[in-house]
């Protein structure tokens, strides 16, 4: 039982990271209807930047983290301006293919600068476990989960109450009508890429603190698909829950497969098996919009 509880907690932490990355994915999808295949590489970019700043430039971790966030904002702006804006008006599929290309470019850049071996962040938090409900939990796990939760809370408030947040939702629903309100939709697109880069970078930094990073980190982006499809492609709450559920399920399934059948590596496929099942029973996800139908 304790074994499974432990798996559950690990799952929540990993799930929290998936949720963040899924949030970035959903924000872009909602605003621009672009399916961003480079989401995982944005995680990787953030993780490596923070790594370089702390380890290679010896900047204290907190500052390095804040600088990483600033860098992510710039990265978001750059991607929107240089890669996507020239494509406005093109077919969706072209834009999606460009994000696939962008993921290769980002991955190659990381390999160019940092190679392919695993890099480890310096220890920032104490290693002494904290005991929660009788279970020992590493402080870094707690911090990771808390950080994801806080970011989610901030973005929920932002989208619900702030002028820009409401304008982003309006733009997501109807771009031309949003323009008729005087909303500059190009700014909105840039904003959504910035948000996506920032939340992904935070996810990357958390992962770096827990596991260390290598140039395959981008594969995490693939795990986010089951999460967002479970949650419904265009729902923020869905992204949060989808990420958590996928995180927990894949950890628990993996543990169960290990314990009951002696199978290793089930974690890598569990999420996709879940994905297939979801698509069969709830094609719009748990929270996805169908279309409001009036009678």
């Amino acid at each position: 039982m304790e074994y499974y509880l432990q798996l559950f907690i690990n799952g929540l932490v990993v799930g929290g990271i998936y949720s963040l990355v899924a949030l970035g994915f959903v924000v872009i999808y909602k605003a621009t209807k672009v399916v961003n295949f480079a989401q995982g590489e944005l995680v990787m970019a953030g993780a490596y930047i923070c790594f370089a700043l702390t380890v290679q430039f010896n900047i204290p971790f907190l500052w390095a983290f804040l600088l990483t966030l600033a860098f992510s904002v710039l990265l978001g702006l750059a991607i929107e301006r240089m890669v996507l804006r020239p494509l406005i008006g093109e077919e969706h599929i072209s834009v999606i293919m460009v994000t696939v290309g962008m993921s290769s470019v980002l991955k190659s850049l990381v390999q160019l600068f940092w190679g392919t071996q695993i890099r480890v962040y310096p220890q920032v938090l104490p290693t002494e476990p904290v005991v929660i409900a009788g279970l020992p939990v590493a402080p870094v796990y707690l911090a990771a989960f808390a950080l994801s939760a806080v970011l989610f809370a901030i973005f929920s408030v932002f989208f619900k109450y702030s002028r820009t947040g409401i304008a982003m939702r309006a733009t997501a629903f109807d771009q031309q009508a949003a323009q008729s309100m005087g909303i500059g939709i190009k700014n909105i697109f840039a904003m959504s890429w910035c948000i996506a880069c920032v939340v992904s970078a935070v996810g990357g930094v958390i992962l770096g603190n827990i596991n260390g990073i290598n140039s395959q980190l981008g594969h995490l982006g693939l795990k986010v698909f089951p999460a967002v499809i479970l949650g419904g492609l265009d729902s923020l709450l869905g992204a949060a829950l989808g990420g958590l559920i996928i995180g927990v399920l894949e950890n628990v399934c993996d543990g169960a497969a290990r314990q009951l059948f002696g199978l290793g590596g089930f974690r890598e496929v569990a999420a996709f098996i879940i994905l297939v099942v979801i698509l069969m029973i709830k094609p719009y996800g748990l929270f996805g919009t169908k279309e409001i139908e009036r009678v």
């Binding site: 002028r163 939702r169 309006a170 629903f173 031309q176 323009q179 309100m181 005087g182 409001i292 009036r294």
Partner: protein, 272 residues
């Protein structure tokens, strides 16, 4: 009504040509003017180019691959035909698009806030109060998702967004489309009030010519991308051609449209 009060024109459209997708010429040298503080009606059959005219003024053609290829749109003495929609809204022109275009998964109040996107934050609370005074039904539903409202309520919400934007020139695209006659009357009353109370100049596009001319000072009738007739609303209402082709008179018509004619005549007499 107040025709002839000033020759001061808020908006002047001169020889406007609009092309869609680089090939389809839809506006073929259209000219019109909106006198300050008045309601001007732009009438015409489906496909005449009325919506295109409004989008050319508000800059919304771009995302439909439409382009102004000739002529000019002069707003308060300044050409605006090459500005982006955001700038145009900030200059005080607001378009209520055809089909209401409500943000369905936002609440009514969030929709209204979007209308005030270009206004200082300090105006929002007062703006909301004003909209709710015009449309008490929106106040009741302000926390409700706009997509679940009836067509009439959505139209109120769309006009409410315009009130929030405090424009100097309001472009209304077929506000009566698909509404029951009673609601049409209510909407036109509000348009009239916004015009007289807020002092907003209105360019009103309609297929419902009778309703539009009953509130307008002047009217333009367009066909096939050009203005074919213009004049004071009262003159247009009395013109036999207009009566035959746009007011459905002279054909005998079906009962309902005949009753509408009588209704609006009575209304006009009453207003005048």
């Amino acid at each position: 009504m107040n025709a002839g009060s000033t020759v001061n024109e808020v908006l002047k459209v001169e020889n406007l040509e609009v092309v869609y997708n680089d090939v389809v010429l839809v506006l073929k040298g259209l000219s019109l003017a909106c006198p300050k503080g008045e309601i001007t009606a732009l009438l015409g059959a489906n496909g005449a180019g009325k919506s295109t005219t409004l989008k050319a003024i508000s800059g919304l053609l771009e995302c439909e691959d439409g382009e102004v290829t000739d002529g000019s749109v002069i707003y308060q003495g300044e050409p605006i035909q090459h500005l982006i929609p955001e700038k145009i809204v900030r200059k005080g022109i607001f378009q209520v698009m055809e089909g209401r275009r409500i943000f369905e998964d936002l609440t009514v109040e969030e929709n209204l806030r979007c209308g005030a996107f270009t206004r200082p934050r300090s105006e929002i609370a007062g703006g909301l109060e004003k909209v709710y005074d015009y449309f008490p039904r929106l106040r009741e539903r302000r926390k409700q998702l706009a997509g679940y409202m009836s067509g009439g309520e959505q139209q109120m919400c769309a006009i409410g967004r315009a009130i929030m934007a405090r424009p100097q020139l309001l472009l209304l695209d077929e506000p009566s489309l698909g509404l029951a006659p009673l609601l049409v009357e209510e909407i036109f009353d509000i348009v009239k009030r916004i015009n007289s109370v807020e002092g907003v100049t209105v360019l009103l596009v309609e297929q419902n010519a009778r309703a539009a001319l009953s509130v307008a000072g002047r009217g333009y009738i367009m066909e096939n991308g050009r203005v074919v007739m213009e004049g004071k609303a009262a003159d247009l209402l009395g013109n036999p051609d207009v009566q035959e082709f746009y007011l459905g008179m002279g054909h005998g018509g079906d009962r309902r449209s005949y009753r509408d004619v009588k209704h609006y005549r009575r209304r006009k007499r009453w207003l005048g």
